[in-house]
């Protein structure tokens, strides 16, 4: 089967490619870039002819929660990967905080089996410690062999400085990073960002310093061990400064940010809608401004959704008791296009880098190329389409998003990978 994108703009930042023309994919392989399609080419092809389409290397979300095994009512591997494809992602890395935790080769094999047949590839981030208990190191060598691309005890920071030190040393043998959920549990323990708004909304606060001390610890231990330390969902100004300084000193530190942290602020909690409750919490306007600076100057390497589905009976409850986290896979790219590209924070090229290149560089994964003869691993976006997100139509099994009915400018319109095409909410095999 053939697919033709007519008059599209191809942007491949790694190869400094930025051209306009037609792109022909046949049997899942890029056959031709540029030029115009002949009648013979078009014969029997699925022709996508829309003005202004951008074809980029497939986007990758390095922080998602698939909830399987354990909470298949909230999400399954299949539903999560369908939401990923619908959101324009051809690859994701999934977190190990399932029940049981992903801390063995068998657990990875189980998810791999469930992911079979999806357009979006799923890469495991395995637990740092056995059962995420913060005690014994997980069998890292075995996990890397089974496909783990990173280690994390996400949901919580690595329980002790000593364990983090050993994790950084040991994982560095395989060049695999430690992805840290930066939160000091003693300093945290609240329901929203601590500051003026937690004071007037009467909710217990989580101070930014609860994040900062764990970022600082990680930076120092990365420097000491030479290991690779990745800051998940960075949200505070001071943490961004710590990452910036660490990079300037040549320490192996990277960072990702979620779309909700560059879009929303603590003040938005005012309705007490639990879809505004996440961890780290929505921060102040000042932190958001610092995040935009961090995205611009490449302190922040990647955009990751922290897709965290929750069943309605868990999420729709009193604010202080509701679990943290929101859906993200289907709104990440639209938010980046609306809030970053639309508001001239980042160029489209840099935004593509944060989605397609940044995460794969951190996880040492090959970056898809837009080149003739290469497998088609592509994300196609329409940066100008104005549309309204309808959470009721989400491919996820859950509905916990603060972005329901939000108007976006820019949309992922198609994704290709593994010989498959995702378009208009459906998957086709090429």
């Amino acid at each position: 089967m053939k697919v033709i994108f007519k008059n599209a703009r191809f942007i491949d930042p790694e190869r400094k490619l930025d051209e306009t023309g037609d792109l022909l994919v046949e049997e899942g392989v890029i056959r031709r870039i540029g030029g115009t399609t002949t009648e013979e080419d078009a014969n029997g092809a699925d022709v996508i002819d829309r003005e202004g389409l951008i074809v980029a290397p497939g986007f990758f979300d390095m922080h998602v929660h698939l909830r399987e095994p354990g909470r298949e009512d909230a999400e399954t591997v299949q539903s999560g990967l369908a939401a990923a494809a619908n959101g324009g992602f051809t690859g994701v890395a999934y977190m190990p905080n399932t029940e049981p935790a992903i801390d063995s080769a068998e657990a990875i094999a189980l998810v791999k089996e469930k992911a079979r047949g999806s357009l979006t590839e799923a890469f495991p981030i395995a637990a740092v410690s056995v059962g995420r208990k913060g005690e014994a190191l997980s069998p890292m060598a075995e996990l890397v062999e089974a496909g783990a691309v990173a280690f994390s005890d996400d949901g919580a920071a690595v329980a002790s400085s000593a364990l983090l030190r050993r994790a950084l040393e040991y994982s560095n043998m395989f060049g695999v990073p430690i992805v840290e959920h930066c939160e000091d549990p003693d300093l945290a323990g609240g329901a929203m960002n601590e500051g003026y708004f937690s004071t007037i909304y009467g909710l217990p606060g989580v101070p930014t310093v609860a994040e900062d001390v764990i970022v600082a610890r990680g930076v120092l231990l990365a420097e000491f061990t030479g290991g690779a330390f990745h800051v998940a969902h960075v949200s505070s100004k001071r943490s961004i400064e710590l990452v910036r300084d660490a990079k300037a000193r040549g320490i192996r530190v990277t960072a990702e940010i979620t779309p909700h942290h560059f879009t929303l602020v603590d003040e938005d909690v005012k309705t007490y809608d639990t879809n505004y409750k996440m961890n780290p919490p929505l921060r102040s306007r000042e932190d958001l401004e610092a995040a935009l600076e961090g995205l611009k100057d490449a302190t922040i390497d990647a955009i990751a959704s922290d897709h965290a589905p929750h069943a309605p009976e868990d999420k729709e409850r009193e604010f202080i008791y509701a679990p943290n986290g929101v859906l993200g896979l289907e709104t990440a790219v639209p938010l980046a296009l609306s809030e970053l590209v639309g508001k001239k924070v980042l160029s489209i090229e840099t935004t593509i880098e944060k989605f397609a290149l940044g995460p794969r560089r951190i996880l040492n994964l090959p970056i898809p190329k837009i080149a003739e003869g290469e497998p088609a691993n592509l994300t196609v976006i329409d940066p100008a389409e104005v549309w309204t997100y309808d959470a009721a139509k989400s491919k996820s099994k859950s509905r916990n998003t603060p972005f329901d009915k939000r108007l976006f400018t820019g949309k992922p319109v198609a994704a290709m990978n593994q010989g498959k095409l995702w378009r208009d909410g459906e998957m086709k095999t090429l």
Partner: protein, 310 residues
């Protein structure tokens, strides 16, 4: 005259005219309470549910009495904090109560935002009887009523709220209500108990109780939860009392005319000595009596308010 809202969720942003209307109405009901037959038929046929997710005997009894004196049918629904998270969800409880077609819900909950949530899912009028560390508007209104009753005015007074401001729902309702009425509001307490960003609410912060006494007309002293010291908010009760507690000597030295309020229950020997708690400076029992009149006023004004009334 009627209130500008169907619900009383807090005092932040509530116009002065609403507060004045509540205070005037409460004054009328206070006269009713002085009669031999302390009951009026105003809310006959109306059902009020007292939905208490936290034990608070004082507030609940005060509301219940106010409801009975207005001839409303009062139903108590208490859920202990320990059963939260087990069995029926909060959402289902609320749906059940709503199905019973109640006119008003008085709600107390450990989570801020629950009263606002109720206004979205239930058709009843909602009165916040304390949510998290957010607001407790009826307590603040009875405090303001009591200050006005004793001193004849609120406008221009210097009022200081003393104690654990960070964990108090009473403090901020007082701040907003008093500011709306033209008072100058300050707070006094250990720096660990003063929440971040408080200066943006326009209050002055003291850490020196002697200065707070000297520079204010009214001190509203909050109850200290003694277990807070275990979490490092203050070293111990003795030190708290020594540096922030009210004593007769302190008051005599700094400002013998100061008026003392306390929402109760008092930790004698912690927030204040028994000499202060029982002395001439305070109006603590008047506050309790006024609480019923103020809650009657609020129940009456909301219960008789017509839909879409401006």
């Amino acid at each position: 005259m009627s209130l500008s809202s169907n619900h009383l969720l807090g005092l932040r942003g509530v116009p002065r005219s609403d507060i004045e209307l509540i205070l005037e109405t409460a004054a009328t009901f206070k006269q009713v309470l002085d009669r031999p037959i302390k009951k009026v038929p105003t809310l006959q046929g109306k059902t009020v549910v007292n939905l208490f997710y936290e034990p608070s005997t004082r507030t609940r009894i005060s509301f219940e009495l106010a409801e009975k004196r207005l001839s409303a049918d009062a139903v108590n629904f208490s859920v202990s904090g320990s059963s939260v998270g087990k069995g029926e969800t909060f959402r289902d409880t609320v749906r059940n109560i709503e199905a019973m077609k109640v006119d008003m819900i008085v709600v107390r909950h450990a989570s801020a935002g629950v009263p606002l949530y109720l206004t979205r899912v239930a058709k009843s009028r909602v009165i916040n009887a304390g949510d998290g560390t957010h607001e407790h508007p009826t307590q603040a209104l009875l405090d303001i009523f009591s200050i006005k009753e004793k001193l004849g005015r609120v406008e221009g007074l210097n009022v200081c709220i003393v104690g654990d401001i960070a964990h108090s729902r009473v403090a901020f309702s007082n701040v907003y209500g008093l500011q709306a009425m033209g008072a100058n509001v300050s707070v006094c307490g250990p720096s660990t108990m003063i929440p971040r960003g408080i200066e943006r609410t326009g209050v002055k912060v003291y850490h020196d109780i002697d200065r707070a006494i000297a520079e204010n007309d009214v001190l509203n002293v909050l109850r200290i939860q003694l277990e807070r010291h275990a979490r490092g908010y203050f070293p111990n009760v003795r030190e708290y009392h020594r540096y922030f507690g009210l004593t007769e000597e302190r008051i005599e030295k700094n400002n013998p005319n100061v008026l003392i309020l306390h929402p109760g229950p008092i930790n004698r020997g912690v927030e204040m000595t028994s000499g202060v708690a029982d002395g001439d400076y305070q109006i603590i029992l008047q506050q309790v009596a006024n609480g019923v009149a103020v809650r009657m006023a609020i129940l009456y004004l909301l219960g008789t308010r017509k839909e879409n009334e401006q």
